[in-house]
């Protein structure tokens, strides 16, 4: 459940980023497409990083074993 909600948050953040890029630096259709590509790439990379770490911890096969002291 938390996975889906947080993924949605990432998508929303990506959309907001794209809108901000369009508002702040509007440079014609080719430039805008470039900025959109950058925003999409960033969102995908960041989401992948988070999702991998989250999924790996969902059903762990080993647990933390505290060390001495």
């Amino acid at each position: 459940m938390g996975f889906l909600i947080t993924s949605l948050i990432f998508i929303v953040a990506g959309v907001i980023g794209a809108l901000l890029a369009r508002i702040c630096c509007n440079r014609g259709p080719s430039g805008n497409l470039f900025h959109l590509t950058l925003v999409i790439t960033t969102t995908v990379c960041c989401w992948m990083m988070w999702a991998i770490v989250y999924l790996a911890q969902m059903n762990p096969l080993i647990v933390p074993i505290l060390s001495e002291g």
């Binding site: 259709p29 497409l33 950058l38 790439t41 991998i52 790996a56 969902m58 762990p60 096969l61």
Partner: protein, 818 residues
């Protein structure tokens, strides 16, 4: 697919469209046209006179003159540096001067400066000699006076030399009582007085002793002032000496020895009144000379300052002129010898600008004939031109360092802008270090204007040039650091409660069996309970290795996808069907499947051993999977994927060369006459642009090339995927180093009560973090992320056999020189 066709062309994705142009410029407007084009900076000239030596070109005299002028300017700069002058006031605005006038002015200034320098040299030499004479007079006069004051006449050969000290003149004069008074009165006993470098005095004395067989008396005293030695141009200590001897032969010998040792001899009169008179004269002349010297230096400095105020402008002007003449040398005279013909490349969007500039040049030079500018076809491939701004420039440089893109192929820097800092951050992930990097990047960006105008060392120049790269690297590092939960290796509980707790309230088996997961997963990043536990490394290693594989598969799939878009752009359906499709099938049926298994294993929490699954998929695909079953119908699926991969290999190897051969045979079967026709072209019209394309098809070459390509892909699939494990390796190293410095340096030092030990520990921690983690690890992660991009990502689609567009531009001159 229509969707992609309807999208506008992306900014940096493919090179700007270039076109080959020809210019026909009448002679009178040539110079002006070229200099205006240089200001614009959007046309790359082709050298039409490549085969000629520099001395056979048209404008060789002008280039020589420009070279002379820049030599003079360098001479001025040298003199100004030696005189230690700095530009103080703003340069005065002067009307633009012509090149000929500048030449005349420069030669005037140069001769003036040389004259002033020689005069100054002569004056200085005379000054030095007078100074030495003064010292000799002072000291030697002292010897002679004391010698004359005694009337005891004894003719004795002195065999010992006397070493004079400034304060013990009386003692030596007692010894000199044995000496004969008025040495010049006696027949044959004369003296020579002079001055010599202090370092040579011992050898000098010994030499004299040997030469005169001991028949001499040597007195010396150190001179009080330092003298500037003209040869060494530094101040040396000198010693005044007086040699008493008898006989003419001794005299010649002594003079020769003085010469050999570089001692300067000055005649000193024995009479004390004469001495005093001469001393007064010498002193007055010395002060005169000093005044003259000062005036000379002042005059010269004034001249230099006036030159200095114009120097920069002149240097720029001469450099521009030389560049214009070099470019003019690239053009050819046409048949009528009245026009210059030039060829070059320019971007299509710049066509109107160039035409405007040429029109302005025609008007400004009052020429009757306009400049002709028209587009031609070219055989060779155009240069590649990407319009970058200060942000994308550094990333484009990184990609260009591997190879300049072929004309109009997909530019990897579109994705590199984000994936490069991101992969750096995966290896660097620590948000404390990320904040330090961010501060550094912000400082560089804040001072970019000031740093841009200075001249920096090569390392600083790289750092300033890459400031936006570092900024992105820092931002992503902070993000990855938050995910890895490391702040200088310390975890924080920022995003809620940890998901682990003891199995029972007494935590009795926390150190044996471990904690238990009782809540939902920690929402963002690695759970803080893992830090410091004994099973931390096995868990993190497994996590990071699988993460590296997933990133690798994703990036390589992106690379193969870009090759599809390239094939689509160049309308090569051959490449799509017989290269892209089998590559996609092969790669994803093996490594895409592995990525899928990883994700499923995580989602289901199964205990399946993925090594076992992958290896036995190849070794014995029909075996029952048993415990390693992750999917429904996994065994038939694996057999199917294996078959697909095996089919894909000959699919990417054989069809393409065979079909190319078929196409070539078809094209040229009925066209042999056509070939003959095209070979009789009119070569007189454009002698320098080759129009014939020599068609040749060597089947074995194409087949071998395709085989190499296929083998590289197949074997590379395994090795490149494994290569991405460096993401795991470097992030592990970073994390471990960070832990060691934190626990074994900072915490250890903090354990003591002593403030000094604590400060020392803090200092060592700071230095170790700054130099090892922030500098060395940054460079290391930078390099490895670069390698991942250059090899694993770009060899899926990037040919990189283009050449860069280098327009004739005055602004690029300023960067080149110095």
């Amino acid at each position: 697919m229509k969707f992609f066709d309807n999208l506008p062309a992306m900014d940096l994705m493919r090179s700007e469209k270039m076109t080959f142009v020809q210019l026909i410029i009448p002679f009178e407007s040539a110079h002006r046209a070229i200099s205006y084009l240089g200001e614009l900076g959007l046309l790359q000239f082709r050298d039409l006179n490549d085969d000629k030596s520099p001395f056979q070109r048209t404008f060789v005299n002008q280039v020589k003159r420009c070279g002379e002028m820049s030599r003079k300017l360098r001479f001025f700069k040298d003199q100004i540096n030696k005189a230690g002058l700095l530009p103080t006031t703003r340069p005065t605005l002067q009307p633009n001067i012509d090149l000929e006038e500048l030449e005349i002015q420069l030669s005037e200034h140069e001769s003036e400066l040389i004259e002033m320098n020689t005069n100054g040299e002569k004056l200085r030499q005379a000054y030095n000699e007078l100074l030495e004479f003064k010292m000799v007079l002072q000291k030697a006069g002292g010897f002679l006076v004391s010698a004359q004051s005694h009337t005891v006449a004894q003719d004795r050969e002195l065999e010992e030399t006397v070493y004079l000290n400034n304060h013990h003149i009386e003692r030596t004069s007692l010894l000199e009582q044995e000496m004969q008074p008025g040495p010049s009165n006696q027949a044959g006993l004369r003296f020579i007085s002079g001055i010599i470098c202090k370092s040579k005095i011992l050898r000098f004395e010994r030499m004299l002793f040997r030469a005169t067989r001991g028949n001499m008396f040597f007195n010396q005293a150190p001179a009080e002032e330092y003298v500037t030695d003209p040869v060494l141009a530094e101040k040396v200590e000198k010693t005044v000496f007086v040699v008493f001897f008898s006989g003419e032969q001794a005299r010649t010998k002594i003079l020769k020895i003085c010469d050999a040792f570089g001692a300067n001899c000055y005649p000193v009169p024995e009479d004390i009144t004469t001495q005093r008179q001469i001393t007064r004269e010498v002193l007055s002349r010395l002060s005169e000379l000093e005044a003259t010297l000062d005036a000379g230096i002042h005059h010269r400095n004034k001249a230099l300052t006036s030159i200095l105020s114009h120097l920069k402008k002149w240097t720029v002007m001469v450099r521009k002129e030389k560049a214009v003449y070099d470019t003019l040398n690239m053009l050819n005279f046409d048949v009528t010898k009245k026009c210059l013909v030039g060829e070059g490349w320019c971007p299509i969007f710049a066509k109107h600008q160039i035409q405007e500039v040429l029109r302005r040049a025609t008007i400004d030079s009052n020429s009757q004939v306009g400049i002709i500018f028209h587009i031609m076809d070219a055989v060779e491939s155009p240069p590649t031109y990407f319009k970058t701004n200060k942000f994308t420039h550094a990333f484009q440089e990184i990609v260009d360092a591997y190879g300049v893109a072929r004309y109009q192929e997909a530019n990897p820097s579109v994705y590199t802008v984000i994936t490069y800092p991101f992969l750096f951050a995966v290896m660097f992930g620590d948000w404390g270090h990320g904040i330090c990097l961010l501060l550094g990047a912000l400082i560089l960006i804040a001072r970019e204007r000031r740093l841009g105008s200075q001249k920096l060392g090569s390392f600083m120049e790289l750092a300033v040039g890459g400031r936006y790269v570092v900024l992105l690297m820092a931002l992503f590092s902070i993000y990855c650091g938050l995910i890895y939960n490391e702040f200088f290796s310390v975890p924080f509980r920022m995003f809620g409660e940890t998901a682990y707790k003891c199995r029972d309230p007494s935590c009795s088996d926390a150190r044996t069996t471990g904690l238990i997961k009782y809540r939902d997963t920690y929402p963002f990043g690695v759970d803080p309970s893992w830090r410091g536990s004994r099973s931390e490394l096995p868990f993190l290693n497994s996590l990071k290795m699988k993460m590296s594989i997933l990133f690798g598969v994703a990036q390589m799939n992106l690379g193969i996808l870009l090759s599809y878009f390239n094939a689509r752009f160049f309308r090569s359906s051959l490449d799509i069907r017989y290269q892209f499709v089998p590559q996609m099938i092969f790669f994803n049926s093996l490594f895409g499947y592995l990525a899928l298994l990883i994700v499923i294993k995580w989602c289901t929490g199964s205990q399946a051993d993925l090594y076992h699954v992958m290896i036995y998929m190849f070794l014995s695909p029909t075996d029952d999977l048993g415990d390693n079953q992750l999917l429904w119908a996994q065994r038939p699926l694996q057999i199917l994927l294996l078959l697909l991969a095996v089919i894909a290999v000959p699919w990417m190897l054989f069809p393409k060369p065979l079909i190319l051969r078929k196409i070539h045979l078809e094209r040229f079967q009925g066209r042999t006459y056509g070939l003959l026709g095209t070979s009789e072209m009119d070569l007189d019209v454009e002698p320098d642009s080759a129009r014939q394309r020599h068609e040749e098809f060597n089947f074995s070459e194409v087949l071998v090339h395709q085989m190499i390509h296929a083998i590289e892909f197949v074997l590379g699939a395994v090795s490149n995927t494994a290569s991405y494990l460096r993401l795991w390796a470097l992030s592990l190293a970073h994390s471990e180093l960070s832990t060691v410095f934190y626990e074994k340096v900072l915490l250890l030092a903090w354990g003591f009560d002593n403030i000094l030990i604590r400060l020392a520990g803090l200092a060592v921690f700071a230095f170790a973090t700054a130099f090892i983690l922030l500098m060395m690890e940054t460079l290391s992660a930078f390099l490895h992320a670069l390698r991942l991009h250059w090899v694993e990502f770009m060899n899926k689609f990037y040919y990189a056999d283009g050449y860069k567009f280098r327009p004739f531009s005055f602004s690029s001159l300023a960067d080149e020189d110095d």
